[in-house]
């Protein structure tokens, strides 16, 4: 019997491989020797089949596609944008011209926090860390000359995510692209904001309700779009360990799944559109173990605990960004090397898309030159190193498998710890996540300070004078320009329609209706991000953490 299943699994993989498209590329070594699309044990044991198996098959330890990067490379997606949306539009076009294959849009802090450019708290922040968006006009300009029907767009936005999704729908419509054709990802992961990044506005429960509204809306109207990118990146950057990053992120994912099921959605309708976003830190094998264990745990819980039937519901798809905190201000050129190793771990870990950080990010927003090197790092990996030729090339290594198993066990233990505190919301409210993250961050810093952990250029191999590298400055006239444009819109738009639209948003929020249609209407009549956030906050409240 066991032999039969073995043959079946291996044959199923071979069959899937034959049915998969193959890129037009050279899948041999640089010396011209053949490389197999997958290497497996000569006599696969039952344990091998259950825990490791074949790429494209449950539990996906070795990857989610049968032929992995032989079929399609990961999407090279550099996060970009600052200044006005007109300036950000130029950066997006530049990246497309350099061969980038997807767009990733950054917004400034006022937009991320859901306040307009003329708000008192926005002073000094407008257009600084991303593009400034107040109304639909800004959004239209962000994508001017970029066909939203032809490129996938990732929007990094959380508390006001539903509002920016409404903007995207309206901008696309104005381009003649129906929402059902839109591809891309909304970050929209509010739970990690409470754990780590602190860009929350509403309290946890109504915040999650808005996420569920967008999942519901996308499931019905935007079947190609990923409504939420469940993110460990920021949790890790805040100081969590690799296992904490993975466990907290998966727990967040399970919470969205549970809420969506409670909403009455069919898991196999929405789960295939959930995607993840992880960090790739500097410990190469630990990261690899994290990606592999993550796929296995997600698949098992989705199938066994939540009863998902479709294979696509079991697959953990993820974007990776290399670790910002691992980069150093001292000897910044060395960061290029760090990024390359981290990118290698992400690719060997089977990511679906990747952002490589620029060497200057501890100093400023990346210069054009630094962004180009970062993108080229991915292109070298993809086209020169040969690591894309076979799926999960490090699978089967004693160390990699042992670390993957250990990661899985630790993550399961943390998941139980969260459950035992009464679940996600209770654990947020009692400060569990933040406490653990702060503890881990402190432990790490103490190790570095004591010299037990060496960081090149920081506490080892230091140089008195490091070579300065060119840095970028954001033009501070952006703030005035943006405020002027906003004032002009407020003066020229139909303010009666705006007031009606805002009332309608309050009503929808209050009656527990899906808020998306009301937000789309608000976008159309040029209501601002801040006005719509305030309307929602009138009903949902604002969160004041206790600690």
């Amino acid at each position: 019997m066991a032999t039969d299943t073995k043959r079946t699994a291996a044959e199923a993989w071979r069959q899937a491989l034959e049915n998969s498209p193959t890129r037009d590329a050279c899948f041999t070594t640089i010396s011209g020797k053949p490389v197999e699309p997958l290497y497996v044990p000569e006599e696969p044991s039952e344990t091998y089949e259950e825990k490791i198996g074949y790429p494209g098959q449950y539990p996906y330890t070795r990857g989610i596609y049968a032929n992995m990067y032989r079929g399609r490379l990961w999407t090279m997606r550099q996060f970009a944008g600052y200044g006005t949306t007109a300036q950000a539009n130029e950066r997006l076009k530049l990246l497309l011209a350099k061969g980038q294959t997807g767009l990733s849009c950054a917004f400034d802090l006022p937009t991320l926090m859901g306040v307009d450019s003329d708000h008192p708290s926005a002073v000094g922040e407008v257009g600084r860390l991303g593009a400034a968006v107040d109304t639909i006009n800004d959004f239209d300009r962000y994508f001017e000359g970029i066909d939203l029907g032809g490129v996938s767009v990732s929007l990094t936005i959380n508390a006001p995510a539903a509002i920016l999704l409404a903007f995207l729908v309206v901008t696309a419509r104005r381009q003649g692209v129906d929402a059902c054709r839109l591809r891309g990802t909304l970050q929209n992961d509010i739970l990690k904001e409470f754990h780590a990044q602190n860009e929350y506005v509403f309290p946890p429960v109504p915040s999650v309700r808005l996420v569920t509204d967008t999942i519901e809306y996308c499931t019905r109207e935007m079947p190609l779009f990923h409504p939420v990118s469940i993110s460990g990146y920021h949790i890790r950057e805040a100081g969590a360990t690799a296992a904490e990053e993975l466990a907290f992120t998966l727990a967040d994912g399970f919470h969205y799944v549970e809420q969506s099921i409670e909403r009455g959605l069919d898991i196999d309708q929405f789960a295939p559109r959930l995607s993840f976003f992880f960090n790739s830190h500097i410990d190469f094998f630990e990261e690899l173990a994290k990606f592999r264990a993550g796929r296995r745990i997600w698949a098992r819980h989705m199938r066994n605990r939540y009863g998902a039937k479709k294979e696509k519901s079991w697959m953990l798809r993820f974007h990776v960004q290399t670790s910002g905190v691992s980069l150093q201000a001292q000897q910044p050129e060395v960061n290029v090397v760090r990024v390359a190793y981290q990118a290698l771990a992400a690719v060997l870990g089977g990511c679906q898309s990747l952002h490589t950080n620029s060497r200057d990010e501890t100093l400023c927003l990346p210069t054009e030159e630094a962004v180009t090197i970062a993108l080229r790092t991915q292109q070298v990996l993809a086209h020169e190193t040969g690591v894309v030729n076979s799926a999960d090339p490090l699978g089967g290594s004693y160390q990699v498998e042992a670390q993957t198993d250990a990661m899985e066990a630790e993550v399961e233990q943390i998941l139980q710890e969260i459950d035992s505190q009464g679940g996600m919301i209770a654990a947020i409210e009692n400060g569990y996540f933040r406490r653990r993250i702060a503890e881990s961050a402190y432990r790490f810093q103490r190790e570095v300070d004591a010299g037990r952990r060496k960081i090149v250029g920081v506490n080892a191999f230091t140089e008195d004078e490091s070579q300065p590298i060119p840095t970028m400055e954001v033009d501070s006239s952006v703030e005035e320009e943006q405020k002027k444009a906003l004032a002009a819109i407020k003066a020229s738009r139909d303010n009666t329609s705006v007031a009606e639209a805002l009332d309608n948003i309050r009503r929808a929020a209050d009656e527990g209706e899906n808020v998306m249609p009301a937000l789309i209407r608000g976008a159309e009549v040029q209501a601002t991000v801040g006005e719509m956030m305030d309307a929602l906050a009138d009903v949902l409240g604002r969160y004041q953490p206790t600690s």
Partner: protein, 144 residues
């Protein structure tokens, strides 16, 4: 709290722990650094009040005044420091709090460091600064 009570208590007054108010100004929520620093300064024997995220310069200066702070530590990682720090220093002057040692941490380009120091910032600590360097700097700088 009186700074010195009587000659007998002068040594005690000198030895009172350094009081530090830490704050994040502006909208940026990156608080890993400031939390680690808060803990390290506490471990070094200082009294630390962390006022939390999203503070305005006014609120921070008020906290420094209310808490009788020796040190005001500001963390900014958004790049808004050249707008926010001058506002903060002006408020401190208006309240007669020039004696408060101001330190800044975060993503601060090298070119901005002398500008901040000219405004009256005692020291800027960029990412990678050892925790001990911060506490030793304060021990050496703060007059009690």
């Amino acid at each position: 709290m009186p700074r010195t009570a009587s000659p007998q208590s002068e040594t005690a007054a000198k030895k009172r722990p350094i009081r530090v108010v830490l704050a994040k100004i502006g909208l940026d929520g990156h608080d890993r650094g400031i939390q680690v620093v808060a803990r390290a300064l506490r471990d070094a024997g200082m009294e630390v009040i962390y006022t939390g995220l999203w503070q305005t310069p006014e609120a921070v200066v008020r906290a420094a005044e209310d808490e009788d702070a020796d040190v005001l530590g500001i963390s900014i990682l958004s790049g808004a420091h050249m707008k926010q720090i001058p506002m903060l220093i002006n408020r401190l002057r208006e309240r007669g709090l020039e004696h408060v040692t101001v330190i800044v941490g975060g993503i601060i380009p090298e070119a901005d460091i002398p500008k901040l120091q000219a405004l009256g910032v005692a020291k800027v600590f960029t990412p990678g600064s050892p925790l001990k360097e911060i506490s030793e700097f304060l021990e050496a700088t703060v007059r009690r």
